[in-house]
Symmetry: C2
Subunit: 357 residues, 2 copies
């Protein structure tokens, strides 16, 4: 019987719709397990820019720092995507949050619910049993280095940077996780070309010595992009830099049938932030068809990692599993065999999850 304060940060687009469902699931868990969860909300992204001119208002950051965990939605808006010269952008809010909260480790578990074997574009016999845990570094790399223009704006530059301690701490987290799993770690870099990757490989090789029970391999990012699709089962824990992790985990969402199923945990020095890996998806915003399961599974990660509530977390995952077993699908995970009356909208599939809790 714990008392916890959870901050809901829906952000933009379908972020609003899916976190609303995630919150209902947290509420139900509190009732069922006798916990007291209190909530607050904060702004980030495009909605924060509209309201305050700032993609991450100080007030939001303060609320994040003071809460026990954050359930996050998504940020982004097509308006900025088509205007490369915009000075204030929704994504700045997300990046600032990551940096300010010291969220250097982004965990992205990629695991297919058996019922979704058919929903992926990859063959079921290639997918069956695939279970990968990505550790994406989240506060360094080309995301946070100096960037700008020179030559009257005709040349653009971005600096990628990594220091030893940044690689060490994420590598350690990944090795620790590998120990509790199949004891395999794949570190992904581009050490044949870039210097930050050479430092990365050096440090991972060094940290590996402390984990002789974990089998380590180093792969180039290009080869990994290929191997993930060719043979996903060869991977257990994958650790990689910020940019490579961004690309590879989105790709790997196809292993889980759909992006709409994938949750992520960003952890580090303070409050943990839990969010779907999908974006704000303005093309389907407001239509009530967004898949809330990634937000629900993010709530499950939150319960497990930030609150140490294993049973509660498993209850959520089991409820999602039962909903899928009962044949319910959102549009993105339906296939040709799904009967029309089993294809549900955001709230309706959320309600099914609540029923099974």
């Amino acid at each position: 019987m714990a008392s916890k304060h959870i901050l809901i940060v829906p952000g933009d687009g379908i972020g609003q719709e899916v976190t609303a469902v995630g919150k209902k699931v947290l509420d139900k868990i509190a009732a069922k397990f006798g916990h007291t969860f209190t909530y607050d909300e904060a702004l980030i992204g495009h909605v924060a820019i509209e309201a305050t001119g700032n993609p991450l208002p100080d007030e939001s950051l303060e609320k994040m720092r003071k809460s026990d965990a954050v359930l996050f939605g998504a940020v982004g808006h097509p308006k900025y995507d088509n205007d490369p010269s915009a000075k204030v952008r929704p994504e700045q809010g997300l990046l600032k949050m990551r940096k300010e909260l010291g969220l250097y480790a982004n965990l992205r578990p990629i695991k297919l619910f058996d019922e979704l074997l058919g929903a992926s574009s990859i063959k079921p016999e290639i997918l069956k049993g695939a279970d990968i845990l990505f550790f994406r570094e989240l506060t360094g790399d080309i995301y946070f280095g100096e960037k700008g223009r020179k030559n009257n704006g005709d040349t653009a530059f971005d600096i990628a940077e990594y220091s030893r301690y940044e690689v060490e701490r994420i590598a350690r987290k990944a090795f620790e996780a590998a120990r509790t799993r199949r004891k395999k770690l794949c570190s992904v870099d581009k050490a044949n070309v870039i210097e930050t990757s050479r430092l990365w490989r050096e440090v991972v090789q060094k940290v590996a010595k402390e984990y002789p029970d974990v089998e380590v391999e180093h792969q180039f990012v290009d080869a990994t992009a290929m191997l993930l699709i060719k043979d996903p089962r060869r991977f257990d824990v994958v650790v990689t830099a910020n940019l490579f992790g961004d690309i590879l985990t989105d790709e790997a969402s196809q292993i889980a049938g759909s992006m709409g199923m994938l949750a992520s945990a960003s952890i580090g020095d303070g409050t943990g932030v839990y969010e779907p890996i999908h974006g704000s998806a303005h093309d389907i915003t407001g239509k009530g068809v967004a898949n809330p399961l990634a937000s629900i599974l993010s709530a499950a990660l939150l319960l497990d990692i930030s609150f140490g509530m294993k049973a509660e977390s498993e209850a959520v995952i089991n409820a999602v599993d039962k909903v899928l077993k009962a044949g319910f699908r959102t549009r993105d995970i339906a296939d040709a065999q799904t009967p029309a009356d089993k294809i549900l909208g955001t709230d309706a599939i959320g309600a099914e999850v609540l029923k099974f809790l």
Copy 2:
């Protein structure tokens, strides 16, 4: 009846085995169509380091400049991969060649031979008809910017850089190609985070105005990594920066069934270079099992692009198609249904291609 001088640059690992077969195909084409092809060889990569200490000796570069086209193998050696501090590396030879020859456009056509529909890990119904032409920028980005260490070696950095004219020239090539195809162009960047991508998007938007008949979309690299697998048929021409192109084209090799099938053309200011997209694959080097079809298809690209020999190029592609139709496979493109006696080694499948020419 043309007279051409072709430089064979096998490089490392299976590069040796596959270019030998590619050369035989060029020879046969010369005989069949009444051309005179003369050849020379040059060193690059690990073999060049072993022989001269230099991954791209001046002599090799001179020979490249003087030849009408280069048939290239691969570079790389595990020895360097496991030693991130090595100062001289095989890949430096490749990068220097690209820079010195001004090879700014790397064309990677991704097209599945119908007979290989089953060889991919992606479902046949998702793949059927997929036909993508990648334009990867090849002489800029984080590959060629300043890189190094600071803080006593504890911090590594790499600078990514693009100038307007670099984006413009590759964008134009991509738009021109789109005009001859399905008139769709997808430009891939990470403009929501990095400045080089914002310049990239700005320039592509500007160049697009000159091609109102081509339908343009901009996608983020993470979303593209996902969409390539989810729905490869939505893409026609894809244009992107050096690093993103490296990752996405390796990933896209799964669309073509295997990396062993994919050829690429690097073109720009002078001599064109034609090579498989696969690497040196030291794990299978010397075993005689490497798939030479990518090198053979690279020869086809060479005939088409550098020599303007369309009929000759098509003859090569048709011969490869016939070999596949006859049921012959190398190990990497065989599937559970392939009878053992149809699985051929490098030279044997090369001989089948020659028979059909």
